[in-house]
Amino acid sequence: MIAPVNGVPSAAKQLLRLDAALETERIAAKIRGIVFDRLKRKGAVVGVSGGIDSSVVAFLCARALGKERVIALFTPEEDSSPESLRLGRAVAETLGIRSFLEDISPILKGACCYKRRDDAIRLVVPEYGPGYKSKIVLPNLQDAARYSVFSVVVQTPAGEIRKVRLTAEAYLGILAATNFKQRTRKMMEYHYADRFQYAVAGTPNRLEYDQGFFVKGGDGLADFKPIAHLYKTQVYQLSEYLGVPEEIRMRPPTTDTYSLAQSQEEFYFSLPLAAMDICLFGRNHGFPPSELAAIAGLTAEQVTTIYAQIDAKRTATRYLHSGPMLVEDVSEI
């Protein structure tokens, strides 16, 4: 894996540093303007996963709108880590906001989410069945020249681990099945939004938003996205300022979507998030690879590769960002 030898150097962290108090107030004012004035909603629903991003969004919403106007929604399913619910509850308790628990497993079973996923895995691992666990992973970017192609990692009931490269049919089948999870969660969030006349807060950080790391109509759907402009490093900085429980701040980011624990690096970024953050910042601010390399503790060749991948992901995920396209403008709307 491409990783700075001694972690991300402090010069790089310095580049991304923001004034947490000022930024918090700026975002809070924007949230009030969006929710009350523009959307005419009475509060906000936040799907709280126990991760850093949704925790920060819940804290920001509570600060902006008042704790009585924020709902935390927990939507665990069979493959969720029990930790996620426990940490989600810690957020709601710390803030003193209302929370609701919706186990979405029965809905997912009704949609044959797990069966469709397992059928797709069986296209490449025929013996996959009850008692097995799985996740899909990208290769580490050790070899910059290689294409990033997905593999499935399966764990047999006996604990043996196998990794098999996916076919397009299997990959798309697994993805299409597991995307039910994010879409079901969003459906639940809108249920509560309708019930209380609230707006739905989206929780992507800048890295996820920019690189299309979301499900269209799932976690990509929201009425507002208050931290989509913040680099992940900055989200961590705000979390400290806002008083997000330390346990959440120290927890490595996971997707919490597959039955085997899966990091975001494995699934999408192929690079430690902090290093990815610096590279995205460098790309956005026109840093030549050689200059950024020195700051980020990477080689110029590695930065060049990462820049190219950032661009490629933007192109590949443009479809995810686009709203419904019309044949003709409806100018009255």
Binding site: A145, R146, Y147, S148, V149, L166, T167, E169, A312
Partner: protein
């Protein structure tokens, strides 16, 4: 070799350009021209494995082998010329 180029070009045009030739040069990079993404690579690999009964290893999934019609043709020729051990039995 020429027929191989023709076969592979037909597959690429049909699958990734929706049948529209778009003046694709056989030397054009699929990556640079946004023709094939990472899911597309998986489709391409499946096609090559099935059509030519070859096995493609992870370490062979590099642009040098797969990133243009000409490179694909050369790669397939090279694989087919290898001893049967690297082909799917």
């Amino acid at each position: 070799m020429q027929s191989r180029v023709h076969e592979l070009r037909s597959f690429v045009v049909k699958n990734f350009l929706f049948g529209e030739d778009q003046r694709l040069d056989n030397a054009d990079s699929f990556l640079d021209n946004g023709i094939i993404d990472s899911t597309g690579i998986l489709e391409l690999v499946m096609y090559l494995q099935h059509t030519y009964e070859i096995e493609i290893y992870d370490e062979e999934l590099i642009p040098d082998n797969l990133d243009s019609v000409n490179r694909l043709a050369a790669f397939v020729e090279h694989k087919l010329a290898m001893p049967a051990v690297s082909k799917v039995s």
